[in-house]
């Protein structure tokens, strides 16, 4: 029998059996997480299923991030209901302003190498960057997991994504992942695991890896996984976390597909409205007018994203008249970092608007909503019609570098054309 992929190894360990792609097994869970978007239904299912306590409450968290801060009375009341449930059952709560749950999970060592983490949110996949098999489920699955400490999972086939080389100037991890989405399509990895491998990974920091893992789900993947290396260990140490038990794939593991990406050939990319896989190189994109740039979300709201945007913004005198520029920090830690290093003030002085750390304007649940006919360029992961709360707005997805270039010119601009 040939060797195993990372996903096969983790799910074998969690089901105490020897499993391969295609098997359906019931697995033990190391950590579970909900959001204020999914928790109300989870509580409802928990009660209907006859739940009385949470199997491993010390490893259960809920994040108040989608309605941060709550925009109306209904959502404020939902928050109170969630806090009450969490207190009663001993779950951790990430409060309004603590940030996006996925970012907090990584920063607080709740997702460690070889862990199986499930979350009632599709971007739970983000912690694959830390070698955790993390995957999104619905509220009913989460409620069942709370009661039983287990979940049924199909062991996924794996697509290996081999990265080689180093990214060029004004190219960002967002451009790598948009190229991959373009190549595989919005369902190209459906039910599958993406395993990122190859010498190019050594050149990617944890923010870049988190972005790649995060957007695995934009190709339908069940998870996006990285092995552990120096960068992972340094990240865990810096956050005061335990190191977990790293899992590497066997050299003779079976992959259903292998994709090769030469990082030195990746160009700035942009996803056009309203599909994440309608991706073109920015140099070939229509130079559409841009009215709003949005830096934020669990894909692109980290400190490094603001820094990369500022590096471009500094090349211009000022942003184009009429352009709104908004930043939502991914977490309280992110906010604190950009406050201390002065970049937050610099962004505000250039005309930027800051929102409460959390999901912000990502899916129209709180924060600024674009008006009719507005073109937004965003560091987010999704651009469905209506995604930011208005189906009459159009959303382009790009790196913070490309977003900043658009802010300077008031239209889509290849960042390579901005003099530096």
């Amino acid at each position: 029998m040939t060797g195993k992929t990372i996903a096969e190894k983790i799910l074998s360990a969690k089901s105490d059996s020897d499993v391969r792609a295609g098997d359906v097994v019931i697995c033990r869970i190391d950590h579970l997480v909900a959001t204020d978007g999914s928790m109300p239904m989870t509580i409802d299912y928990f009660e209907r299923m006859g739940g009385t306590s949470i199997a491993n409450a010390e490893n259960a968290s809920v994040s108040l991030d989608h309605y941060s801060p709550p925009p109306n009375r209904t959502t404020a009341d939902l928050h109170n209901q969630i806090r009450k449930f969490a207190q009663q059952h001993g779950m951790s709560v990430f409060e309004v302003g603590d940030g996006i749950g996925h970012q907090v999970m990584m920063e607080t060592g709740r997702a460690l190498p070889s862990d199986l983490v499930i979350g009632a949110d599709s971007h739970t996949v983000t912690y694959g960057a830390l070698n955790a098999l993390a995957t999104g489920v619905g509220s009913s699955d989460l409620a069942a997991a709370m009661i039983a400490g287990r979940i049924w999972l199909r062991v996924p086939e794996t697509i290996k994504v081999n990265l080689d080389g180093t990214m060029g100037d004004k190219v960002h991890a967002k451009d790598i992942v948009l190229s991959l989405v373009k190549e595989l399509g919005a369902d190209g990895a459906a039910y599958k695991s993406l395993e990122f491998a190859g010498p190019g990974i050594a050149n990617l920091d944890m923010d870049a890896r988190a972005l790649l893992a995060n957007m695995s789900v934009e190709m339908g993947a069940k998870c996006g996984l990285f092995a552990v290396d120096e960068t992972t260990r340094a990240y865990l140490t810096a956050n005061g976390s335990r190191q977990g038990t790293p899992v590497s794939p066997d050299p003779d593991a079976t992959y259903c597909q292998v994709v090769e990406i030469d990082l030195s050939r990746v160009e700035p990319q942009i996803a056009l409205p309203h599909q994440v896989d309608t991706v073109v190189p920015v140099r070939d994109a229509p130079q559409a007018p841009i009215h709003m740039i949005y830096i934020g979300t669990c894909a692109g709201g980290r400190a490094s994203d603001l820094h990369e945007a500022l590096a471009i913004l500094r090349q211009g005198e000022r942003i184009a008249p009429g352009v709104q520029m908004i930043y939502t920090p991914a977490s309280r830690t992110t906010l604190s970092q950009v406050s201390k290093d002065g970049t937050l003030a610099e962004f505000v002085e250039m005309g930027g608007v800051i929102q409460t750390a959390g999901c912000g304007s990502c899916c129209g649940t709180c924060g600024v909503i674009p008006g009719d006919g507005i073109n937004v360029i965003s560091t987010a992961n999704r651009n469905f019609k209506g995604r930011m709360g208005n189906p009459e707005a159009s959303i382009y997805l790009a790196s913070p570098i490309t977003c900043a270039a658009a802010a300077l010119n008031g239209r889509i601009t290849n960042p390579k054309d901005i003099a530096s």
Binding site: N72, G138, S140, T365, P391
Partner: protein, 173 residues
């Protein structure tokens, strides 16, 4: 164990119908009740869709049905509208799970030849049978794994936990 039989009218949709199209996130701000939300079912695709849904309609989609977020209302709103099955060439994995757990039958089969309004019949007993009564054709559906079959036969994960207090034992079904 008794089988499961569904008969209904095909409501044909395209590829990549995401959860936001099924039910918009902004509608969730005010209510999560499927009976309230059903009036907005698929409004971004067709504003008249909800008003023309009849009990026992079957959704028929292309590739990647239910992609996008994992939000479960996208499954419960369909159940709330009286729909018992979705046929698609493929599903997003979270939608597939949410459907199974809520007693909405997700059927993976080649839907390309199904036309709006076709009469369909789906049965699940010893095996999976899908028939287009209008076109008089049989469709091959992907079989369910034993664990999933056991959950479907209990009427979803909620029923399963209510009656068994936990996951089903596939060997017992």
């Amino acid at each position: 164990m008794t089988g499961l039989a569904i008969k209904g009218r095909a409501r044909v949709l395209g590829d990549d119908i995401n959860t936001d199209y099924i039910i918009s996130s902004r509608r969730k701000r005010d209510s999560l009740d499927p009976q309230v939300l059903r009036q907005y079912l698929l409004e971004s695709v067709d504003p008249n869709f909800a008003a023309t849904v009849e009990p026992d309609d079957v959704l028929v989609a292309g590739e990647n049905f239910g992609c996008g977020s994992a939000m479960e209302v996208a499954a419960t709103v369909v159940v709330g509208a009286g729909i018992k099955a979705v046929l698609a060439k493929s599903f997003s994995r979270t939608y597939y799970r949410n459907a199974i757990n809520n007693g909405l039958l997700p059927v993976i089969c080649d839907t390309s030849a199904i036309k709006e309004g076709d009469r369909l019949s789906i049965s699940l007993g010893d095996g999976f049978h899908v028939r287009n009564e209008t076109a008089q054709t049989d469709l091959t559906a992907e079989p369910l794994s034993p664990v999933v079959y056991a959950i479907v036969m209990s009427g979803g994960l909620v029923n399963c936990f209510q009656s068994l207090g936990g996951f089903p034992d596939p060997a017992q079904v």
